[in-house]
């Protein structure tokens, strides 16, 4: 059995830690400030949580297939992916449970997958909560306890 870098309780603690966002975060991450890297667009934003832990939001979207996207929350000590909100461009298989899913899905970091030698975020669940990158991004912001700058709210478009 491999050694997990973070336990389930560590993971939950980092998800729950409040993370203040700067003004203009939306533009930086899924707006006009995204950069083009060949066949996809990308953006990153470093955020410090109120407990002093360092996180990064990463966003990727394919220029070829707009349903191939990912909104990612990374705990930057050791580049540990805590949560990943994917599009529906590919299948996913949860190897431990032996199930294959197709559709929009959310990757969750778990202790058990690390202990089995897989990536920390190798477990995913299908979702109907979003159908595009904007919706996935909103779910990441809501689920992972980001604090919006004063006067800003999550948008539908």
């Amino acid at each position: 059995m491999a050694i997990a870098r973070l336990s389930d309780s560590d993971i939950q603690q980092f998800i729950e830690e409040k993370k203040p966002l700067p003004i203009g975060f939306r533009d930086m991450l899924i707006g006009r400030k995204m950069k083009t890297d060949d066949a996809h667009k990308r953006s990153e934003l470093s955020v410090e949580g109120i407990n002093g832990n360092h996180f990064q939001i990463k966003v990727r979207i394919s220029n070829v297939n707009p349903f191939n996207f990912s909104a990612i929350l990374v705990f930057t000590t050791g580049t540990f992916i805590l949560r990943r909100y994917n599009g529906n461009s590919h299948y996913h298989t949860n190897k431990i449970e032996g199930e294959t899913i197709h559709g929009f899905h959310i990757h969750y970091a778990t202790q058990r997958y690390q202990e089995h030698g897989f990536s920390e975020d190798a477990y995913a669940e299908k979702t109907t909560r979003y159908s595009d990158l904007n919706g996935a991004f909103n779910c990441l912001i809501l689920d992972c306890n980001f604090i919006l700058p004063e006067g800003e709210q999550l948008t539908l478009l």
Binding site: D37, D38, A39, H40, R42, S46, E48, H54, K58, R60, S62, N63, V64, N65, N68, S70, I72, T76, T77, G78, T79, I81, R84, N86, S89, H90, Y91, H92, T93, N94, K95, H107, F118, S119, D121, A122, Y123, A124
Partner: protein, 257 residues
């Protein structure tokens, strides 16, 4: 008889694990049981181009790698050389980040396996051999400094002009135009850490003014005794280039003032 039965069973079962769907116009995603380390299946799309066919990943493979590493690091140095070598071996082309394999109708099944092999080898780039990893860290270290220090303030591979005419005690990078020059070292294994320890003691013996900072690839991989001796002499340390990136950036900004 048994062999024949085994063959039939395997061929049938294997065949059932690969199928093609239709999504949109002239776009046929291929499902295979092959997955990446994070459970996501490889993206393979087949398209017809005139009388021929094309297998493409629509840019997904390299985009996927960028979740955990800097995309630009895949386009130069050691990582780029490795990717290009792999692609060349399998006849796959990289067109602006999209991996493509032209095939004929008869080559369809062989092409699918060939393309898959190329994709699995490329995604394994995250598990580079030790010597290759050492080379990529120093490239990443230099790229990071280039991205965060103005070129007129940064010098790589510095040797003290007065005390080190034989060019033995290199400083990886110096930030100059300061009252006290900042000597920056990249450290990724025990031998390197020992060398830098010796260098720092030598600089001290010359009684020159300098301030030292070390950026580790992963400080936890350095043995305790080596790290202890280093810690006695170094002014400042960052445990990891990747995970301490925000802190290193802030530190460099302050030092540039």
């Amino acid at each position: 008889m048994q062999l024949q039965m085994l063959n039939q069973t395997i061929q049938q079962k294997l065949g059932n694990q690969i199928f093609i769907e239709e999504e949109g116009q002239n776009r046929y995603p291929v499902f295979t049981p092959f997955i990446m380390d994070d459970g996501d299946h490889y993206t393979m799309i087949i398209r017809q181009i005139g009388q021929s066919w094309l297998i493409t990943d629509e840019g997904d493979t390299l985009m996927h790698l960028s979740y955990r590493m800097d995309y630009n690091s895949l386009k130069k140095g050691t990582r780029q050389e490795i990717i290009e070598r792999i692609l060349s071996q399998y006849g796959v082309e990289n067109r602006d980040g999209e991996l493509r394999l032209p095939i004929t109708h008869d080559q369809m099944s062989a092409g699918i396996f060939t393309f898959l092999q190329a994709l699995t080898r490329i995604t394994d780039i995250t598990f580079l051999a030790r010597e290759q990893v050492r080379a990529t860290f120093m490239e990443d270290f230099r790229d990071f400094l280039r991205s965060n220090v103005p070129p007129e303030r940064l010098q790589f591979d510095y040797y003290h002009p007065q005390f080190d005419k034989k060019r033995i005690y290199a400083v990886d990078a110096v930030i100059n135009h300061r009252e006290t020059p900042l000597y920056i070292f990249g450290i990724n294994h025990d031998d390197r850490c020992r060398d830098v320890t010796i260098h720092l003691h030598t600089y001290k013996s010359w009684q020159i003014r300098f301030q030292s900072v070390a950026i580790f690839e992963d400080q936890q991989t350095i043995s305790r005794s080596v790290l202890a001796r280093f810690s006695d002499i170094a002014d400042k340390q960052f445990s990891s280039l990747v995970s301490s990136e925000p802190q290193i950036k802030n530190y460099l900004m302050e030092q540039l003032r």
